[in-house]
């Protein structure tokens, strides 16, 4: 869970400003970048795991960092998977908000940095859905983390890789119990986000 949360936070730190920046700027290759970002949302986790593995393995370009089979490697893989989701979806939400705000912001002559901060803040409740989508991707991910993490007990074993391992061992009751816990965590986070968003809607903050 800690690995998932760190991955999500890093992906949000990169993805939210990137999405907002993409939404409010105009440049010739913007549509191509948006299309690439959208396409990256469906990156196959196993392929990402393999690429990160190749980079971090001893003979790879980043092998000297000795990160393979560590939680950091798992975070890197998950950040690669989650960031495009955060970037693309936040770009769409902020583009809609920009339609309302752009003339006022232009009148204020505010800097792009200040505008990005304001867009992210004012779209915060809508962006919760985006963060949830990223969280869903991170918490359910198994392919990439098992390749780069190695599923080492007490080091790189997470709930999804545990479920996978226990299933392969035939220990189905434990696998099911872990699956249930994962489901409860996921549902609780979703319920909390829905509650917050609905209360924000009543105040017209969405």
């Amino acid at each position: 869970m800690k690995i998932n949360l760190i991955s999500l936070i890093v992906a949000c730190i990169i993805g939210l400003p990137a999405g907002a920046g993409l939404a409010i700027t105009r440049f010739p290759t913007k549509n191509i970048i948006v299309a690439i970002s959208n396409a990256l949302m469906s990156l196959p986790p196993v392929v990402v795991g393999l690429i990160v593995y190749l980079y971090l393995s001893r003979s790879g370009p980043l092998g000297w960092l000795e990160l393979l089979y560590t939680p950091t490697a798992m975070i890197i893989a998950q950040v690669i998977l989650v960031t495009p989701i955060i970037t693309s979806l936040s770009c769409q939400i902020i583009e809609d908000l920009q339609e309302d705000y752009k003339e006022y912001f232009s009148s204020l002559v505010i800097s792009p940095q200040k505008a990005i901060k304001a867009y992210i803040y004012d779209a915060r409740y809508s962006l919760m859905t985006v963060v949830l989508a990223g969280f869903g991707r991170a918490i359910s991910e198994v392919g990439a983390v098992i390749i780069v993490g190695g599923n080492i007990d007490h080091l790189t074993r997470v709930m999804t890789t545990s479920i996978s391992l226990e299933t392969s061992k035939g220990n189905l009751p434990l696998a099911l119990a872990l699956g249930l816990i994962l489901l409860i965590i996921s549902l609780s986070v979703n319920f909390l986000a829905t509650f917050l968003k609905n209360s924000a809607k009543r105040k017209a903050y969405v």
């Binding site: 006022y104 105040k203 903050y205």
Partner: protein, 244 residues
């Protein structure tokens, strides 16, 4: 007591519009506009729907770029430093998805530090003090427009553009906005105000620009404008006739 303007305003006069044209696609919206605004009073822009009033104000505020021609303030071209000395109130104000106080505080933050006490004085002035923690989007139309005016005034602009700020408002809100605008002008803020309301123009205007089909047909003092209209289009507009 709210200070509408800093003690040492920079001189932005005269405001010159020279050979100004603006087109969007195949539509010519402003045609060869040439005027020099010397007056530091309240300049009202009037004209029928679609005459280009809002576009002219957006050009003056730098929200639109002229197709050809120039706008200058005290012989300086309209750049960011001049635009930061201006503020605009839109006909349909865009309020941030925040509380009333946060909306003003955000505008105040543009000039550096947020002075919350200053923001609250302004809210009080516009009768919005009891709404300071209220979501801005849930205000009534009149309250939203008053908030938009407060948000513009917190910038301490030297020039304030208002695009039909009192359209569809109740008489009390109209009176309050007119009072604030007139007080701001007395303190040294130049006002450029678009309205269709002839009574309002008579009440507040020092001089009037009359536009029709993108052309400036008249720019004159208020009394002259109403007493001796110089064009048949102006006369027709003042008589309430549709200008063909």
């Amino acid at each position: 007591m709210f200070k509408y303007i800093e003690n040492t305003p920079i001189d932005l006069f005269p405001i010159k519009i020279e050979k100004l044209n603006y087109s969007s696609g195949n539509n010519q919206i402003i045609t060869n506009a040439n005027i020099t605004i010397q007056s530091k009073g309240i300049t009202v822009i009037m004209g029928p729907n679609g005459s280009g009033k809002s576009v002219l104000v957006r050009l003056l505020h730098g929200l639109l770029t002229p197709t050809t021609g120039y706008i200058s303030y005290n012989n300086n071209s309209l750049d960011k430093s001049i635009r930061r000395r201006q503020a605009m109130v839109f006909q349909t104000p865009t309020l941030l998805r925040r509380t009333v106080l946060s909306n003003i505080a955000f505008a105040d933050s543009i000039n550096g530090k947020i002075d919350l006490a200053h923001c609250k004085i302004l809210l009080n002035l516009l009768g919005l003090k009891s709404f300071q923690s209220y979501p801005a989007q849930l205000l009534s139309a009149g309250e939203k427009q008053r908030l938009a005016l407060a948000r513009a005034l917190v910038l301490k602009p030297y020039i304030l553009f208002l695009d039909e700020p009192t359209a569809n408002l109740d008489p009390a809100s109209i009176q309050l906005i007119e009072e604030i605008v007139q007080n701001a002008n007395k303190s040294g803020v130049k006002i450029v105000f678009i309205t269709h309301d002839i009574g309002q123009a008579k009440r507040i205007a020092d001089d009037i620009i009359f536009l029709n089909k993108g052309e400036i047909l008249e720019y004159t003092e208020t009394n002259l404008f109403f007493q001796t209209p110089q064009t048949k289009e102006t006369a027709a507009y003042l008589d309430g006739n549709i200008i063909l």
